[in-house]
């Protein structure tokens, strides 16, 4: 073999390391605190390096790293405590969101702000706090979809659940977030409460 062939170090640095920022942002949302997220990132990359021999070039490196990161996080949580976040029974709905199609928030906002402009008045930290308050299963799905743009199948593979469950988690997680942010906006006076919502 020629000496020009890249070393595993070089390959790792080229293929895997560029995703460090994305892994950090994901870890931060999983862990909630910067110092814990940093430890999580370091552990993720250490494990990724140790199992780099199993990494197939061309597979989506970011998804691979997110999977490692989440597994490390969940193991830490398990070690520290029994997993206390119980997500409502989530029999995958064939048609997530079909049961309650109209957003319940809308009956509150349709008179004053039907297009949800109030969301933009909310500071980012408040949005992040609301995301962090979601159960891990919802939070992970929302972050992977809305921050990283992973598709349903990629999220399903990563979380090891069916696609229907991913849709359901995204739907419920987003509804919870919307309600949380709506309540905050009302409290802050960003949104006038509709005097008598119809229906």
């Amino acid at each position: 073999m020629s000496s020009d062939e890249p070393s595993p170090h070089d390959e790792f640095n080229r293929e895997i390391l560029p995703h460090l920022d994305a892994v950090y942002r994901f870890a931060l949302r999983l862990a909630g605190a910067a110092d814990v997220a940093e430890d999580l990132v370091q552990e993720t990359f250490l494990r990724a390096w140790r199992s780099f021999g199993q990494y197939k070039p061309g597979t989506r490196a970011k998804s691979w790293l997110f999977t490692i990161c989440r597994n490390v996080f969940l193991r830490q949580v398990e070690r520290g405590q029994r997993h206390s976040e119980i997500v409502e029974r989530e029999a995958p709905r064939a048609d997530a969101g079909a049961g309650d199609v109209a957003n319940p928030l809308w009956s509150e906002t349709r008179e004053t702000d039907p297009e949800g402009r109030f969301f933009h008045k909310i500071v980012d930290d408040q949005v992040l706090a609301a995301i962090d308050a979601l159960p891990e299963e919802y939070r992970t799905a929302v972050v992977l979809s809305d921050l990283e743009g992973l598709n349903y199948q990629e999220i399903a593979d990563l979380m090891e659940v069916p696609v229907g469950t991913v849709k359901s988690r995204l739907f419920r997680g987003r509804r919870r977030l919307q309600k949380e942010l709506y309540d905050y906006a009302v409290e802050m006076g960003y949104l006038a409460v509709s005097a008598s919502p119809e229906e």
């Binding site: 920022d21 949800g116 980012d124 921050l147 987003r174």
Partner: protein, 116 residues
């Protein structure tokens, strides 16, 4: 179609949208390419998938056409988009610690070739 568009411009509501909401896709109204216009119920059911770009069984254009025409469903789409935009902006915020990359490289026993 022209009539619906005109009604919408005049703020008088998408003709047929109310009827379709109750009755599902009636087939009375057709999309621009002759396909049957989907119902309000179907459009709302597919809202998340539409915004996520994950529609199956329907094309993006079919659902988009409904939201374009239906004054009743349109604000729901706008609200969802507004929410998503806010979430995306917030999630992209945190700064990555500047020395984290160096610490990871050190931990792995690599250098990244920057000084090679």
């Amino acid at each position: 179609m022209i009539f619906d568009g005109l009604m919408r411009l005049l703020g008088l509501g998408g003709a047929g949208s109310e009827a379709l909401a109750n009755g599902g896709s009636s087939g009375e109204r057709d999309g621009p390419d002759g396909r049957e216009m989907i119902s309000c119920h179907e459009a709302m059911t597919r809202l998340q998938e539409f915004v996520d770009g994950e529609l199956h069984g329907l094309t993006h254009e079919q659902v988009e056409e409904h939201f374009k025409v239906c004054t009743r469903c349109y604000p729901h789409l706008k609200m969802e988009e507004s929410f998503r935009q806010k979430v995306r902006t917030a999630l992209a915020q945190p700064e990555v610690p500047s020395d984290l990359r160096d610490r990871v490289l050190q931990l792995l026993g690599h250098d990244d070739g920057a000084d090679a």
